[in-house]
Symmetry: C2
Subunit: 338 residues, 2 copies
């Protein structure tokens, strides 16, 4: 049985998360039972939702238990199998957590899924053709339901969700405008991802200033907005929403550390007859096949070229995760484990 | 031609509205053209939306023009007709405005509609079986879409919209909880309107205190909320919404005077995967026949017994309107003009 390095949640953040909240340990992988497989992880996915799980307070999911391996999506390869449908060498995606190996009961629905790496690199199954891509798809297609010619905006535009959202909205004939932090990210969003415009929120210190930039970038107003960050970005977007606009709320990263994050002017919901809807993609497993098919085609045909930030080795995961929360990553944040 | 007393918007409020914003004038009604009818108003409806129209700022509707008769719903009787489908004596509902008579082009769709007063008193066509009733119906049926056994909450519960909402939700097998101002109103909401409970918001000075009272009144949480007021009531309700709850936003009376009215914790939209949707009932004319039919049946069968606050004479309208904005009315606020 191979030696397995793991990262546990050691204690909960007080305010901002720190590397001290995590603990690296070493364990032996247990012997397999019938129906189980041993997966060697090639990549670990780091995602903003993990910050919410680190808090004790009630959220949509149970808090991450202390002393257990941090939750997380992984892609890897079967290295031992006691399940007839999985063979050594199969490439699979699952929720293996922050560790180098995982033992998975392959009979549990959705616990481990084989993927085809002929046209799509393995790591993309954690990004554009994985949970973040389906997240963008659900918000755009099922909540915003865009019409050709409408203007679609997304925050954290250079990230895994934002880049997929842009490609999906362009494929539907929309004007697509991103919001991102810094000139490099904005250039990438426009030049490589094909957005019509991108606004650097770091150039704006309040919602009024940001909303003026949005007015320029969205001359016909905003019809659909995909919310990843909350805070003043949401305030600014609300000032530019058109009547009957739709907002899909997927993340509010600005509030994860527990600071108050009020919405300045909720009366705009009424004035503009907006629909605002929060969602969690794991509660809508029925759309995954349709969404993954479209996303795989976009990646395979080069219409969606997602960028990745790759940290090296499990021990780099905490620093990379904290950087992600501050927007230091550029594209999908991964940890390479092999 | 009869003499017609009218109330004009003379100047716009700075902060709170006052009687000085209005002006009473006298005019002669003009001679009728072909296709027109002259309506003598029996009742004028006073509604919170009028406050929004008094502001100059962009809202969903054009501002009320200065120097013109205030907008408003009316019921009355045809006293002169040059239209073949309307006869003297017909009872009609329309948007006659704050005046004693109106001349209406009866060919304009929806400008004037005959009503049957056999089972429903004329004044109720401005309330339970009129715009406020349809407003409640649309929010409950089309946005909240309640299931039997769910808990439905409404603010301004003793008013025209709130009372209709309660009856409609009870008819669908829901637990119905109101929020109203003062013991008398709460007693009426429970004893006469048949709500399961009613909370007096005046007994609570912050959102936390109000949310504790909501927890008691809604032991299974809140699945649907109809928002008439905004401010701390909305903050308190958000703390008690169940996962997949729905909020129909119809009014935010707390913000009409222009003071800031932030929403304390928008992250709850994500945590509880809420849907929040603003609407204006006049944009959904297609539902009116179905809604009015159900509302007429509820009133005719005594299952909805709306209360009315009636001010006497056109000159009483401004005071009555300002009282409505402060919650001084008890049930549907009307002005009797005859």
């Amino acid at each position: 049985m191979p030696t397995n390095r793991q990262i546990l949640l050691d204690n909960r953040p007080e305010g901002e998360a720190t590397t001290g909240n995590f603990k690296l340990v070493t364990a032996q992988t247990p012997a397999l039972q019938d129906g189980q497989v041993l997966v060697r992880h090639h990549y670990l996915s780091l995602d903003p939702y993990m910050r919410g799980r680190m808090n004790e307070s009630k959220s949509y999911a149970q808090p991450q238990p202390l002393g257990e391996v941090m939750i997380g999506g992984t892609v890897g390869e079967i290295v031992e199998s006691r399940h007839p449908k999985f063979a050594v060498g199969d490439k699979v995606v699952g929720m293996g957590g922050w560790q180098e190996y995982s033992v998975v009961d392959a009979n549990q629905p959705g616990a481990v899924r084989k993927v085809d790496t002929t046209h799509v690199p393995l790591s993309h199954y954690l990004g554009a053709v994985g949970m973040p891509g389906v997240t963008a798809w659900y918000g755009l297609v099922k909540i915003i339901n865009p019409k050709a010619g409408e203007t679609m905006v997304v925050s954290a535009a250079s990230g895994a969700v934002g880049s997929a959202y842009g490609a999906l909205a362009k494929a539907r004939g929309c004007r697509v405008v991103g919001i991102a932090g810094g000139k490099d990210k904005c250039d990438y969003v426009v030049n490589e991802l094909g957005f019509d415009a991108c606004i650097d929120y770091k150039q704006h210190k309040d919602a009024i200033s940001l909303s003026k930039a949005l007015k320029q970038a969205c001359p016909n107003g905003i019809d659909g907005y995909f919310e990843n960050v909350g805070g003043l970005v949401l305030d600014a977007v609300l000032l530019r929403m058109n009547a009957f606009g739709r907002i899909a709320v997927c993340g509010m990263i600005a509030g994860y550390d527990g600071q108050p994050m009020p919405l300045a002017n909720p009366a705009l919901i009424l004035v503009n007859r907006l629909k605002i809807e929060g969602f969690i993609v794991s509660e809508h497993m029925e759309v995954w096949p349709e969404a993954l098919k479209e996303l795989g085609t976009l990646v395979g045909s080069g219409k969606l070229r997602p960028r990745e930030s790759v940290a090296q080795g499990l021990q780099a995961a905490p620093e990379a995760f904290l950087g992600l929360l501050k927007g230091k990553n550029f594209g999908k944040q991964l940890v390479k484990l092999i």
